[in-house]
Structure formats: structure tokens, C-alpha cells
């Protein structure tokens, strides 16, 4: 059973997500809810869930977006044992929101238009420590890492470039392929796809690539 906490400032939305998750047969247990930054931190500290489904724009706190502040102030839980993992869920698909929460440590980013079963799958994936990329996030990664223009890393672990395989995976996700379909298309296992996606997430969080930092600095996110 995956324990989750729902953080969103709209009660109606929390109720909706709860109902959709309950309707599916995924083993998900909503152990807490919160409506603002302070409440979210308190609830997460108290319940220590496996996954926090976190809205990006939250009232309260001192910095914006509020979702990032929750991530930053819960930083010690990200590496705790067992760790608390965060999945960002937002109505906004603006690039600055995406990068803000991902760089603060979220394991994935999905928009609120996601279906109930897809959300349940995303939660399950994050709970296992994998990354969740929406097509839009994949598109942003390709853009920011210059992969759309054909730049690829020559060394396996280069932080500022995607490897050829990572680029292929990202392109397929951007085209709307599920992980399973990506695996099938590239003749690799789903586990390998997950490995590639996690590697990309790590680069997204750690890279100092010029476009990323310039872009973030423009919006004073770093």
C-alpha cells in the first residue's frame, strides 16, 4: 500500500483526486491532505508518506512558487530512510514552474488534466523511485539540453548533454508514448527506460547547462 499526502489549495480538487484514486484498484492510501505551505510541511512531517502529490502554486510560505518551498523545507526527508518522494501536479505547464519543482527535488511533473489511472500509475512509479515525465516536460528537456538541435553527449555521464539513448527516450515520451511503448519501440526493457528517464531527471536537477541556468536566473529561481 502506497501512503500518499495530497497537497492542493483547492479542497474540491483534493476531493476529486481522492475519489478518482479510490475508484481505481491501485493500492493507494491517502493518509493526509494539506491546503497551504505550512500545513503541507506539518502533515508530511507527521505522516511520513511514500509520495506527496504536490501542487506547484500554494498559498502561505515566503517564496514562490509555494510548492518549491515545501520541497526545500522538506529537503531532509527526500534523503531519509525510507525517503519521502514528491510528484508535482499542477494546472500550469509553464516551463518556470516545471523547472522550479524539479530542481528542488520533485521526482516528476504531471498536469492536472491527467486521468485517474494515469495519476495512480505515476504515483506508483514515483514511489518506486523512478521519474515521471509528461510529454511537455520531455519536450522542455529536449529544448533546454539542445537535443532538438542534435546535441548529444559523447561521454556517458556528461551532465550538460543527453546521451543518444536518452534523447531517443525523451523524443518518444514527447510524442505521447507510455514507458511501455517506448520500451517496445526501442527494443529495450521498461526497466531500462526507467533508468534512462531517471538519468535525465538527475541531469535536469544537477546540470549547470547554460540554457537551464540562464533561463532560471532570468526568473530568479536559483
Amino acid at each position: 500500500m502506497t501512503k500518499i499526502v495530497l497537497v492542493d489549495d483547492h479542497r474540491m480538487f483534493r476531493t476529486g483526486v481522492r475519489a478518482e484514486l479510490a475508484a481505481g484498484d491501485a493500492p493507494i492510501d491517502v493518509v493526509g491532505e494539506a491546503g497551504d505551505v505550512e500545513e503541507a510541511i506539518a502533515v508530511v512531517e507527521a505522516t511520513r508518506p511514500d509520495v506527496v502529490v504536490l501542487d506547484v502554486h500554494l498559498p502561505g510560505g515566503t517564496t514562490r512558487p509555494g510548492g518549491r518551498e515545501v520541497l526545500q523545507r522538506c529537503g531532509h526527508l527526500l534523503t531519509a530512510d525510507p525517503p519521502v518522494r514528491f510528484l508535482a501536479l499542477s494546472v500550469s505547464d509553464a516551463a518556470e514552474d516545471v523547472i522550479a519543482v524539479i530542481r528542488a527535488g520533485a521526482r516528476g511533473y504531471v498536469t492536472k488534466s491527467i486521468s485517474g489511472p494515469d495519476l495512480a500509475r505515476a504515483i506508483g512509479r514515483v514511489a518506486e523511485g523512478d521519474a515521471v515525465f509528461s510529454p511537455r516536460l520531455a519536450g522542455f528537456v529536449l529544448d533546454a539540453f539542445g537535443a532538438g538541435a542534435g546535441e548529444v553527449a559523447t561521454v556517458e555521464d556528461e551532465l550538460d548533454r543527453l546521451s543518444q539513448r536518452e534523447r531517443e527516450v525523451m523524443r518518444l515520451i514527447a510524442r505521447g508514448y507510455a514507458y511501455k511503448e517506448v520500451a517496445k519501440e526501442l527494443f529495450i526493457s521498461v526497466k531500462t527506460v526507467e533508468t534512462h528517464v531517471s538519468a535525465v531527471l538527475r541531469k535536469l536537477q544537477l546540470s549547470n547547462r547554460y540554457e537551464l541556468t540562464r533561463w532560471a536566473a532570468d526568473r530568479r529561481l536559483l
Binding site: 500550469s92 519536450g139 532538438g148 538541435a149 510524442r175 517496445k184 527494443f187
Partner: protein, 456 residues
Amino acid sequence: MLGGVASGLAGHLGLSVRAMRIAFVLTSFMGGAGLLLYVWLWAFVPSDRGVPSPGIPARPPDGPYPSGRAAGLPGAQVPGRTALRARREGRRSMAADVMFGVGLLCLGLYLLAARAGWSVNPGLVIPLAVVGLGVVVAFSQLDEVERARWVERASVGTQAAVLRLAGGVVLVVVGVLLIVVQGSADLGQLGRTLLASVAVLGGAGLVLAPWGVRLWRDLDAERAARVREAERADIAAHLHDSVLQTLTLIQRRSTDAAEVARLARAQERDLRSWLYGAPPSNVATLSAAVAEAAADAEDLYGAVVEVVTVGDRQLDERGGALVAALREALANAARHAGGTISLYVEAGPDGVEAFVRDRGPGFDIAAVPTDRSGLRESVIARMERHGGSARVVSAPGEGTEVKLFLPDAKPDAKSENKSENKSENKSENKSGTRQATEPDAGPRTEPDVDADAEVA
């Protein structure tokens, strides 16, 4: 002539400017009525020009000496006016011009008064003249902006205006001092008087300072409030035009689920681009055209299109052809599949790639080739005409993906693609060969890869 009153009035009444001027001069002799009327009109009739007339600073002779004019002293007026008339069409008149005119005017006044047998005390006239000049200099800047905005602080905005204000104040102070100390050349008294004036001015300044500051703050606050109000009105107008209208429409058509979904989706897209989107640019780019195509597909067919674009470029004729092909592919996907359609467009270094993927039932291309003749004509043929290529990948239960590729224009691009497409045409089912050439990097999770079919 001076303030443009005569010409303005002439234009208004449909008479000649010369006639108006003669009338003004004549009536000026009748106890100065014309002159008073002139000044009054000048002060209160709004100018139809944004730029003040270069002749306007000529007003000074009128202002401080209404009584002299009222006495009807044409000899005194004419020299001053003549001096200014010469510069009427010229640049901004300098302080020297004004002073010259005023000097001549004063001289004429003085001579005439002396001839009339009035005993004029030069000790009184000169200080008065100085005070008048000060007032004139300080107030002349008001013409630079609008007379209607006398109290607006914008009138002291420029450096020149500040300089003039200060100069005017100094002149007025000096004139007042001259009047006060007239007759006595006692320097000590002058010093005391100066001190007293400064003390009075300083005291008055101190007393009035809080009021002035408050006035200033009120003005500031009022302006900020106006800006906020304008912003709020902007947002309200946008919400009214978009969201409220859509909500009204949705209520009216609440029985038609598809229509409601379509309206909601269109509104969401609109609001989203308003909130998060980049400001609209006039430059036609590929990504903008793609977004528009997706929006139209959503509006027309009630589909949901998830658009992801990577890179961008100017929209040229060939790009337009690609977008047209995309539109057709989107229409096909919306009609035959429904649900969410994924649209991915990548503008890379070699060309533009586009993918339209749906989650519909899919179809066996070999079994029903004629069903998609629209796709064949408007997508595949169109892409080939522009040196690109198009492929359709589908299998029952797998959804359909249309892949478009438009290489950047190169001399040999066209022939290359043609031959490539021909070869693809020959092998109806290409996935078998592809499978053979690509290394299997991991265990396959789905056994039915062979069902993939491709046509070109």
C-alpha cells in the same frame, strides 16, 4: 499673432485673420476691451496644438500690465509687439527676447505717462517690472505643457522648467525687495529686509511643507490607484469576454456533452495562453502555426491535442505545407480516433519532424488502403511535393501515428526523398526489415510488434 488667439478665433468664426487682428487692435483703444478679451481668450480657450506656439512667450507684456494697456497706450504696445513679431515663426524665444520686449514696453509706458503729466516714480516702476518679469518667467513654462494642467507636477518635470521657475522666483524676490527698500539706500536695512523675507518665506515653507507633501503623496497614491484600477478593469474585461461568455454558453448547451467539452477545452486553451503564454508576436513562426492548427482541430472536432514543440523557426512556404499536412493528420486522428492526440514537432538542424499520434482503434493498413485516401492525398502527396516524406504507422488496437519529415531546402533534397519514398512504397510492411536491422537491446514486453504496418 501673440498667442494665436486672432487666428484661432478667425478660424472659428470664418473671418480673415487680418480682420480679427484689426478688430482686436481697434477695440483695444476702447478702454482696452479688445486687449482684455484677447488675454482672457488666450488664457481659457484651449489650444488645438500639442506644441505651444512659438509666439506664446510673448504674452508677458500683456500679463503684468493690464492697467497700462487699459489706459490705451498704443505707442507702448507696438514696439514690444514688433520685436516679438519678428520671432513669431522662429525658435523658442529666449529670455532675452522677453526682456527686450518688456523693456521696450516699459520705456513706452514711462514716456507716455510722463507726457500725460503723470508723475511716475521710477523707483516704483522698475521693481514692479522686475516682479512682473519674474512672474512671467516662472509661469511661461505652463505653456510648454497644457494650460489646462497648471497644477500637474509634470509642468516642472524638465530641467529647463525648473531653471525657469527658480529664475522667476529670484526675480520676484528681488523686485519685492526693491519695492520695500525703495528710497533708502541703507544697506543695513536691505540686509535686514532680506533676512526678514527669507525668514517669512522659510516659515511659510515650513508651515506649508506638510500640506505640500501630503498633496504630493495623495497625487502619487491616486495615480497608483488609477493604474491598479486600469489593470483590474483589463483583467475583468478579459474574463468577461472569455470565461463568462463560455460559462454562459456551457449552461445553455448543458445537454450536449461533446459541445460542452469542446467549449471548456477551447476556453482552457485561451486562458492558459493568456496566463502563461508568451506575449503574442507578429512574427510568424512554425510553433505558432502548429499551435493554431492544434487549436483549430480541438475546436472543429472536439479532440484534445497535446502539443509539444522543440525548437522553432520562421514559417516559410514549405513550413506552411507541413502545417497543412499536420492539420489533415490531426483531422483524421480526431475523426477516427478521438481522445487525446499527441502532437510533437521538432525543428532540428536538418529539418522539421512532426508526429501525430492517437490512441484510437488503429487499423490494418494493408486491409483498408482506400479508406485513408484523404490521408494519402493531402498528407503524403503534399509532403512529397515539397520534398518531404510522410509515413503512417498503425495496427489494430495500437492507435495510429503519422510521421512527417521536411528536410531543410537543399539542392539535392528533393530527388533524395523521392527515391526513398519509392523504396518504401515497394515494401508495404517495413517493420519486419527494421526489426531485423535494429539490435534488440532488451527483452520485449509486447509480442505483437510484427503487427506494425507502415505505408508511404
